[in-house]
Symmetry: C2
Subunit: 362 residues, 2 copies
């Protein structure tokens, strides 16, 4: 096993490694986040299964799971994971952190294999391998972001003409989609809701990254909350998260999760990468070969995700693991809006889901 030494970190160039200390932190945090979020699905499910044994099930109105310590442990694990993901964005470029969100599905698939007896078949193992290989390629070629010393600098990046143009186009596209396409094709074409979520998602990540940098600087002693820019980033973040979740729920409510998840992952990651490349100039100074490798790594992870979703259709981790690359609020919201899942569960839209577990989970 090749372990990068501290000396290499600073001058990784000699080895062809472009990662910095900050990238290593961000990458480790993103992976820790995936491990926590991935295992939280399994722990919560164990809790729900156990609660279902002694009382009415969650799907028929039971709240027994609230008394189940395992379920609470799962919720805590998830919050820790989401926080870790949030901090990862502060250190490393979104181009690195966002694609690594796919590791969540690997962790939950592997844990489900051993702890819940939901066996991974050959294709599933292949999908896991692909996610890992793609992640390695992305990590090896990730760009290094120059560290920022004040929110003012982030504000300058956010108000550069190129990024303003991106934001304006994103908003225009979202408005057209919401006002024209939603009422006409929203219920029949999966791409409408998913595109809205993904485009807004790229703005969410950018504003969360800005907010994260502000919090980091504040904790380091330089209070950033005296600047109005920090509050603008905060309100943009909240607005974007609410919009994104609203349309994500509509997408998940209307279409099959195993279709929505990989497409959402691909679009969300793509738009986030585009936004990050424009705002933080991630790719400037990178060679064509490095950028091409990053894109290949992303395509590989996406393929792995698709394969895993196709083999674990309608399985539990699938619907929620896509939130791994968002803020803590996301998962809680889903938790509170679980009713749409119950309906789907009852009218049998997830035929592959083992009937013995079905009622317990939701």
């Amino acid at each position: 096993m090749w372990v990068p030494s501290a000396a290499m970190m600073g001058s990784g160039e000699a080895l062809g490694l472009s990662f910095s200390n900050d990238n290593v932190k961000g990458c480790v945090l993103a992976l820790v986040s995936s491990a926590f979020i991935g295992s939280s699905f399994i722990i919560k499910k164990k809790g729900l299964l156990r609660a279902g044994v002694s009382g009415p099930r969650a799907s028929v109105g039971g709240y027994g799971y609230l008394k189940e310590p395992l379920w609470w442990l799962g919720m805590i694990t998830m919050v820790v994971g989401e926080l870790s993901n949030f901090v990862a964005y502060i250190y490393a470029p979104a181009v690195l952190v966002t694609p690594l969100g796919a590791m969540t599905i690997i962790v939950s698939s592997i844990l489900a294999h051993f702890m819940l007896n939901e066996k991974l078949d050959k294709l599933g193992i292949l999908g896991c391998n692909l996610c890992i290989v793609g992640a390695v390629v992305i990590v090896l070629h990730a760009p290094t972001e120059s560290s920022l010393t004040s929110v003012d600098e982030v504000w300058e990046l956010a108000t550069q003409p190129a990024f303003l143009l991106y934001t304006a186009s994103a908003l225009a596209v979202v408005l057209v989609l919401i006002l024209y396409f939603c009422p006409r094709y929203g219920q029949t074409n999966l791409m409408v809701y998913v595109s809205i979520c993904s485009v807004i998602g790229s703005l969410t990540v950018m504003s969360i990254k800005a907010l994260g940098i502000a919090i980091k600087l504040t904790l380091e002693g330089s209070d950033q909350f005296v600047y109005f820019q920090t509050w603008i980033f905060a309100s943009v973040a909240v607005t974007c998260i609410i919009c994104q979740l609203n349309y994500l729920n509509m997408a998940l409510d209307t279409f099959n999760t195993s279709l929505v998840s990989p497409i959402y992952y691909a679009l969300f990651t793509s738009f986030t990468i585009v936004a990050s490349v424009i705002m933080f100039k991630d790719w400037s100074g990178q060679s064509a070969s490095t950028i091409a490798s990053e894109i290949c790594g992303f395509v590989t992870i996406f393929s792995g995700t698709t394969i895993l979703h196709s083999t674990r259709e309608a399985d539990i981790p699938s619907p929620t693991d896509i939130y791994a690359s968002l803020s803590p609020k996301v998962t809680w919201y889903i938790q509170g809006n679980g009713d749409s899942w119950k309906q789907k569960d009852e009218d049998g839209q997830y035929p592959d889901f083992p009937s013995s577990l079905r009622q317990d989970y939701f």
Copy 2:
């Protein structure tokens, strides 16, 4: 589309590109080879189908396909492809050429989709994408071999202690497999025959590469066939090819092609890469990051191949496309030993093969 200019070729380092003029030639030749071999399967099948219309079928002893121009066109296409593959080994390292052999299956799958109406499903398309992405990663990170000026230099590389040790271990492993494991487990464990082919295959490629360099130098005016070393390489190449084909036929005769093909591809490529890395020192001077990327690219291609094989089980291109990365003789031999295929065809070992086409092909 980014097109490398001639100026970049020589000093690709500045762009982070490690490929040389020779690597570009080798890569193009390997891809041309895959295109020819891949389409030869389709052309030959078209020829066999057409021959089957007007006379007794090949599978019941008919030789009508010998009068069919399309079948001959297919054979010529295949020979051109194999020659091109052979020449590719002269220019580029085996680490680059061998994995690209997987492109054959993409070409034949895509052509089969359009010309033979054997539709690629979603997983098939995903498999194709993975093969392409993996190939791009490998090409971007391929090492550059120093060009050799005489067979004597190749001989020195082949007789360096490290490579002699590899050859000795390879021969020892093969002998143990043939003498001890074949009689006991050959008919029940797929790995026995496939391992023999793969280990010998790595020696085949090395000797073919040495022979190719000798032919190239001879054509350039410096006769290499006056050296006894050239004749040793030639006889090693012939011996290895015959052994390899013998055990490959036994493997294909005993086990399902859709299992043999991807495992053989993975093992054969792995051993060839190891042999090439030892003999030609392909990885010396490469960074850990580049080597890791190459391995990731190879794993990605392998996964793509596995997916394609799993979706196109028992389809025609599968059994033979694995020979793409060998010498011209390979395909001819298979052609001459087609009887084993006929048997399989008749006792229905290929259940997925459309019955309307079954009898025609073999």
